[in-house]
Amino acid sequence: MNTISRTGKIAKKVNTALLTGNEAIATGAYKAGVHVATGYPGTPSSEILPYLARFNNVIVNWSINEKTALEIAIGASIGYKRSMFTTKHVGLNVASDPFMTLAITGVRGGIVIITADDPNMHSSQNEQDNRLYSKFAKTPMFEPSDSNECLEFTNLAFEISEKFDTPVIVRTTTRISHSKSVVRIEPIYMPNLPENTGHKNHPEKIYVKDTEKFVMAPVYARKRHKIAIERLKKMQEFSNNSGINKIEYDSLDFGIITSGISYQYVKEVAPFASVLKLSFSYPVPDLLIKEFVKRVKTVIIVEELEPFIQNEVSSLGITLKGKEIFNRFGELTPDLVKEGLINSSFIKKSGDRSFNKKGLAKEGLAEFGSLLKILEKLPQRLPALCSGCPHTSVFYALKKLKIPVMGDIGCYTLGALPPLNAMDSCISMGLAFGAAQGLYLSNSSPKKIAGIMGDSTFFHSGITSLIDARYNNACFTAIILDNATTAMTGGQDHPGTGKNLSSGQAISNKIDIKRVVEGIGIDEIYTIDTYDYNTTYLTLKRALNSKNLNVVIAKRPCVLYPKKIDSGKKFTILEGCNGCDLCMQTGCPSILNSGRFSDNNKSIPLIDNSCTGCSICKDICVFNCIEEI
C-alpha cells in the first residue's frame, strides 16, 4: 500500500516477510504480472503454484504433466501474456521437447521457467544439474541465493525474457526452494488480500499470427536458430554490465567465483575472501571474470554438482580449480566448503567452534566412546508408507505373489524398500507400463509381470504406454493405485480429483480412470478396495493368472490428503502372540517393539495409538492375535 504522509509525499511502504524461496518466486511472478502459471508437482518445486494461487487475477493450474504445462505457457505467451512454468529438475526433461525449440522461436509475453534441482536427491531419482540446460538451449539463467533474490530475479526474469526474446530459466536448488529468509516486500504483494491492487496484467492485445516466428518448419527454423545465437552476445553484454553479477572485493590474495546457495556457504566460512557472485549465470560475464582473475592472486570456483562455471571459465582460456577440490555429487554444506578451503590452503584449521567428531572426542566429552558405540546400533530411519496407507496391502500381496513388479515414482516407491521389498524398478515418471511390456518381450520371466503406478502418474504419462501395450498385444497386469491425490509431493490435485488450484473455485471436470482404460479397449478391469486385504490378494492373484493384458484399479483415498483420515478404530495385539512377525512385514509405522519377548526370544509387537484402524494387520495375522479395541 502506498501511504500518503503528512507532507503529502507518497512513501512506498516496505515490510519484511519470512518466505521460502518457493513463496518468494510466486510473489516475484505475481509482481511481474504473470497471467498464466502451470506446472506438475515435484519436490522441491511443488509449493510455488499453490502460493501463487492465493493471489487474485492469476490463472494457476496443475497440468497433467510438464510437457503440457510448458506448452500451455507457450500458448499464453503467443497470446502476448506473461506465463510461468514450474518444475523439478527431472520434469524439465519431460518438457525438454517444447523447451528446446521455444528457445529458438522466442516469446511474445515473457516466459519464465522455474527449475528446482535436488542435489543429494532428498526426494528424487537423480541429481542432474539443470544449469546445463541453459547452455544446451542457449537461454539465459538466473541463480538466486536466498528468498529475496528469488523474488527479485523472478520479477526481473520476465523483463529479460521480453527484452531478449527468449525463455528465461530461474534455477533453484532444494536449499533455496525450501529455505526461509527475510524478504523486503511491499505489503500489496502479500497473498490473500481482497484486492491485491498492485497487480498489472499485460494489456489485452488482439491475436495476430506470425508464421516465421512460431512455425518451426525447417525453412523458418534455420533463420530463428541464427537469431538465437546472435542473442547470446547481447545477453553476455547484459551479464557483464547490468550490475546483477557482482564482485565483492576484499582480500586480493584469495578470490572465489560462486553462485546460488554456495555463495552463502562461502560468505559464512570465508568472509575475508573476494567473491565474484554469479546471479545471472548464463551467459557468464566474461569481462568480469577476466577482471577478477587479473586482480585477485588465487581464485577458485565453488559450485555444487557439475563443473558448469568451471567449464565456462575454462573456455575463456582461464584455468581455475573447482571440481579438483569439491565433489561433483551431492550437496555442498558450510562444512564441506570449509574443508575444501582448508585443503586448498585458503584458510587454516582453527580452534573455532566448528569441529568434527574427532574434535569432539578431543574436547574431552566424558564417554564419547559410549556415544559412538550406541550410534552404531541406531537404525537408519528410512521413509515408509504411513499407518493406514492404502498402498500397503497391495505391496504385501505382491510380495506374497513373488512376481516381477515394474514400478514407478510416488509414495508407493516406498513399496520397494524393506520390509515390503515388492517393487523392482523406479527410473522415471510413467516407466512402469512401458517397462512391463519390455520385460514381457524379453521372455525372461516365467511368471506374469505386473506394472504399478499411482493415479497421478497414470495421468502424467501412464496412459500412453498402456495404449502402446494394448496396440502391441503385450501381456501384463497393470495396477493403478488410485488414492485420489498426488500424495508424495503434498497432496496436489490432478485430472482424477475434479479440482484444481485457481479454477478450484469452479470445479474442474473429473476424469474417470476406469473409463479411460475402457476407452483403450481393455475389457478385463478389476476395481478393489485395498482395505479389504483378502479380496485384494485374491483379485491380484486372479489377474496375474489371466493370460490377458488386464488392469487392476486399487481404490482407497490417501490417509493424509486432502484431509487426514482416522477411522477412529484402534487395533491391539492379544495375549498368545508368538512373535511370528507377519504383521511387522507390512512395515506399518504403528507396529512397534513392546519390549516383551516370546518364549523363543522373538519380539512381541505393540500397536501404538498412531494406528488409524485400517485393519490390514488383523487380516494378515494367521493366529488371530490382532483385534479391534
Binding site: 525450501h178 529455505s179 556457504y265 554444506t333 558450510p334 550406541i374 537404525p379 530411519r381 521413509p383 512397534l592
Partner: protein
C-alpha cells in the same frame, strides 16, 4: 549477538515443520536476520526430519555447521541421538522428548535392539545440558496429546532471549483458530516448566 543455531528434529509427520515455523516466526517478529532450512517430500513419510534455524544480526548459510548447534529440540529420543552426534557440542542445550519410537521391523533382531534408557544414559554422560521432557504426559494433563511439541517450545523459549509477546504472536499466526487457546496454554505451561525444574 552471535548467530543462534537451533535444530529441531524428529520423525516425519510429528510436527517438526510447524515447530520450526513457530520458532522462526518468533525470531523474525523480534527483528533478527534469519534463515531456516528444511526438507520436504519423501523423508516426510516417517523418515528422520530436521529443520535448521539460524538467527542473529546477519545470517548467510541456512544450514548449521557440524557440532555448532546452540539448542537441539527433539521430538523423538532416537532422533536426539542422531542429531546430537552430528550437531551438538558440550555446550549445546538439548531438549528432548523422553519418548522415542522405532518401527519394529528395523529393530527386531536381537543384536539390533536399542533401548531408550541406554540412549538417555549415553547422552547424559556426554552432554551436560540435556533435558528430557515427558511432554506426552504433560500434554495429556492439558487434555490433548497433539500439543506436546508446543510445551517443549515453551521450555525452549526461555533460552533464546526472545520475549513472550513475540512467541505468542508467532504461535497465534501458526496454528488454527480452533486450537489457538490450548496451544497458548501449552506454551505457557512449557515456559513455566523451566522454573519448576530450577534451571
Amino acid at each position: 549477538m552471535n548467530t543462534q543455531n537451533i535444530l529441531v528434529c524428529g520423525i516425519g509427520g510429528q510436527g517438526v515443520v510447524l515447530a520450526g515455523k513457530i520458532i522462526s516466526r518468533a525470531a523474525h517478529e523480534k527483528g533478527f536476520d534469519l534463515k531456516t532450512s528444511e526438507i520436504h517430500g519423501m523423508s516426510q513419510r516417517g523418515g528422520s526430519v530436521s529443520t535448521h534455524i539460524r538467527f542473529g544480526r546477519k545470517v548467510f548459510s541456512p544450514l548449521i555447521s557440524q557440532n555448532c548447534a546452540d539448542i537441539i529440540l527433539s521430538f523423538d529420543m532416537y532422533e536426539t541421538l542422531r542429531c546430537a552426534a552430528d550437531f551438538a557440542n558440550k555446550n549445546t542445550l538439548i531438549i528432548s522428548s523422553s519418548y522415542g519410537k522405532i518401527p519394529l521391523w528395523t529393530s527386531s533382531r536381537k543384536n539390533d535392539r536399542i533401548y531408550i534408557a541406554e540412549i538417555t544414559a549415553a547422552l547424559k554422560s556426554n552432554f551436560g545440558k540435556l533435558f528430557t521432557i515427558n511432554d506426552r504426559e504433560l500434554a495429556m494433563d492439558l487434555g490433548n496429546l497433539k500439543i506436546s511439541n508446543i510445551i517443549s517450545i515453551g521450555f525452549l523459549s526461555k533460552f533464546t532471549g526472545i520475549e513472550d509477546a513475540f512467541w505468542l504472536k508467532a504461535i497465534e499466526s501458526s496454528v488454527s483458530e480452533k486450537t489457538k487457546e490450548i496451544n497458548m496454554e501449552a506454551f505457557l505451561a512449557g515456559r513455566k516448566w523451566k522454573e519448576i525444574i530450577g534451571v
